[in-house]
């Protein structure tokens, strides 16, 4: 169905179901319990999950298929964000044109960077992309301040009057989709549970499903096969009379456009663009997301993106007080002991946990979280689960 074989279609259905039901799935704990701290079902984080999922899916099209490790992908996300916010500031507050502009500008920039960087391969390619991204970051932060807003970035201000809007004087424009505010939320209270359905999230989720579908199609297309050939043996391709460059460049531009889409969506959900999104650590983050989830798998990058954003937003908010609340039922001595043990890993120590998890995943699960899922599935030995697992690995290109 939809041009997919049965297994791929089932995977797509699972992804659709997961994203659509995310407000339920991410809020499993009752509001009044201490564990509510771990709930991730609020609009901002759900939006980030899917947006960075798109970013990682796009990155995986380049890295997972061709093996070219770009270390400057955040630059395309940044360019997409700036293009989108300028569109909103100048032309219209509707998010669709803004997102389209983000994709176009990121695509053009990716074409230029890719055209130059793809003259080299391996680590030389990585360093070229890194160099372009770092230059973009440094210039956006400093001399390009009139265009980028510099350190403070760009926001929509009360003085912004987009041509295609009818704002009252003094009213600050808000991102919308044909009149629907991105922040409109419906809340559903069920007993002690509260679920939030946010319009912005669902718009971003639709984009992610489309992006995911497109990535399956690319993975399964002759074009995808060609890209895998680039990864496994480029020399042999040359000998058979094929030039790999147009294919890798196409993959590079596509993945740059995915990044631009993510950048445009970030602005659509939260009207703000700043240069830090282009810093090398941001480029490194998408590499980590992809590897953490499982390089070359379809679903892996999305899982990786979710895992990292979850830690960044949930772990960092746990402070000493909350720990004391959790362990309050225990005797004082044990309570204090546990708080002392746990505290270095949460709150201001969340980076430490992140580092440990990276190491653990790479050491014990070379295939990333997807491999972890497979192992668990195998452990239970259920036939159906095994089928799912194979499906996920199927897309891993041969080394």
């Amino acid at each position: 169905m939809l041009g997919l074989d049965k297994k791929d279609f089932r995977l797509l259905v699972i992804v659709v179901a997961l994203t659509m039901l995310a407000p339920f799935l991410l809020n499993p704990f009752p509001e009044s319990s201490g564990l509510a701290q771990f709930n991730a079902g609020y609009p901002d984080l759900m939006q980030r999950f899917v947006i960075f999922g798109i970013f990682a899916i796009g990155f995986n099209i380049l890295f997972g298929l061709t093996g070219y490790l770009s270390f400057g992908h955040a630059a395309f996300l940044g360019v997409g964000s700036y293009a989108a916010i300028w569109m909103m500031k100048l032309v219209t507050l509707n998010v669709i044109p803004a997102i389209i502009m983000g994709v176009i500008f990121a695509g053009i920039f990716a074409l230029a960077v890719g055209y130059i960087s793809l003259r080299r391969s391996g680590i030389y390619f990585s360093i070229l992309t890194l160099a372009f991204a770092q230059m973009s970051y440094a210039l956006a932060y400093s001399v390009l301040t009139p265009i980028t807003g510099g350190e403070t970035g760009l926001q929509i201000k009360a003085t912004d009057r987009p041509i295609l809007s009818n704002l009252e004087p003094g009213e600050i424009g808000r991102a919308n989709l044909f009149g629907m505010d991105m922040r409109t939320s419906f809340e559903l209270g069920l007993g002690d549970w509260l679920f939030t359905f946010n319009s912005g999230y669902y718009i971003a989720a639709v984009f992610m499903i489309l992006a995911f579908y497109l990535s399956i199609r690319i993975f399964r297309s002759p074009f995808g096969t060609m890209l895998r050939a680039v990864k496994s043996n480029q020399t042999r391709m040359y000998y058979t009379g094929l030039n790999a460059r147009p294919y890798t460049l196409a993959a590079f531009v596509i993945s740059g456009m995915y990044a631009g889409l993510a950048g445009g969506l970030l602005v659509a959900m939260d009207t703000q663009a700043g240069p830090e999104r282009m810093f090398w650590t941001a480029s490194g983050e998408v590499v980590l997301m992809t590897i953490l989830g499982g390089v070359g798998t379809l679903i892996g990058p999305v899982l990786g993106a979710g895992a990292i954003k979850y830690m960044e937003n949930i772990l960092s908010k746990i402070n000493k007080d909350i720990l004391h609340q959790w362990f309050a039922i225990l005797p004082d001595g044990i309570e204090n002991f546990l708080v002392t043990i746990v505290y270095p890993f949460v709150g201001k120590g969340w980076h430490l946990t992140l580092g440990i998890i990276f190491m653990a995943v790479v050491i014990f699960l070379p295939g990333g979280l997807v491999e972890g899922g497979q192992r668990i599935a195998r452990l239970f030995g259920r036939k159906k689960a095994k089928g799912d697992a194979e499906e996920a690995t199927q897309s891993t290109p041969a080394e």
């Binding site: 901002d44 984080l45 932060y141 350190e151 003094g170 808000r174 629907m180 209270g189 703000q272 402070n319």
Partner: protein, 450 residues
Amino acid sequence: MSKTDLTRRGLLKTGAVAGAGVALPTIFTAQSASAFTNEPTGGSVTLGFNVPQTGPYADEGADELRAYELAVEHLNGGGDGGMMSTFSSKALQGNGILGKKVEYVTGDTQTKADAARASAKSMIEKDGAVMITGGSSSGVAVAVQALCQEAGVIFMAGLTHSNDTTGKDRKANGFRHFFNSYMSGAALAPVLAGAYGTDRKAYHLTADYNWGYTTEEAVKASTEALGWETVAAVKTPLTQTDFSSYIAPVLQSGADTLVLNHYGGNMVNSLTNAVQFGLRDKQVNGKDFQIIVPLYSRLMAKGAGANVKGIFGSTNWHWSLQDEGSKAFVKSFGTKYGFPPSQAAHTCYVQALLYADAVERAGSFNPCAVVEALEGFEFDGMGNGKTLYRADDHQCFKDVLVVKGKENPDSEFDLLEIVEVTPVDQVTYAPDHPQMGGAEATLGTCNPGA
């Protein structure tokens, strides 16, 4: 549909509704349920403390967090009450805010605008925070302030010194107690002229981003007005760690004064490098070479060690001040944590108290009522003398401290000595001052959210 907003999880968290009301599935939109974003309905109110917990400003963020915890303790009637007893407004009772117990959530800004907004949004959407405060850089302050304006909560800025925060980027829902670049320049210039004469040639090294620009502009303008000449102004990248290549050409330029428009790690390194070059032992144009750091932070200056000795700068507040408010604050902070508070801690503590007091006086948590209570509010006893929260731009106007690195410190905290307390009149400017965004800068209207 366009007047919708962020959720109010505080509603359920506080338990008023959780017991009975929501036993059956109910569907409601945010706007129908309350008058403004995150209206506290239970017995408690949640504040969001958004400070850098990772990255180079983590220690400053940690000090801010200590101050907030202390403020919460005092607001809820614990401890010795700190500045609540010296504060000129007596609206606070020590029974929380409007009788509601103060609770708080914390987050990590990472000193990045994106991360700070994500963290602030989670406080508003998930935890039901009705006010966000904190931060250690102007980039973060401007970004979070804009967010709070959109979301309809109050933003009480932490440490942010750029003119832009209450200049061209001012917002009706945002308030700043900390001083700014203009005030630093205006306070420093006369003291510098007195100490070093009026015919100096200055060489500026400026951090290449918004705060650096406004600081350079302010210091240049006020020193040139007193007769100084600016020989050169060179921009340095934020990510620079070694400033030697920028300092090496200074002596050749014929300048006799070096102004380091740097903050945090940049300031520590550029100052250390400049002193390493032995600039201060040199004589140029028949005068001793001098170095100036417009914005001092004691916490960071500690990183430069002995290099700060004798170097002029300005700060918002210093623990050695002898007024009743400062003494009370230093006493309760020092007793609780064992060391004196930083200026970041002071401004954050004061901001928390000012917010609470404004709510008490307004009788409501409604952001618009709070804005009204804070606008034009005059107070005293908070460590900076008589202070005015100006209605035009939501900037506090108060005395500014000109300080100098101490030659013979008594302790590891005793790094700066106060040279002069510049009276507020000297640092006051018109709300439409060109350095503050000119006539175009506007607060907009307050936004209560829903």
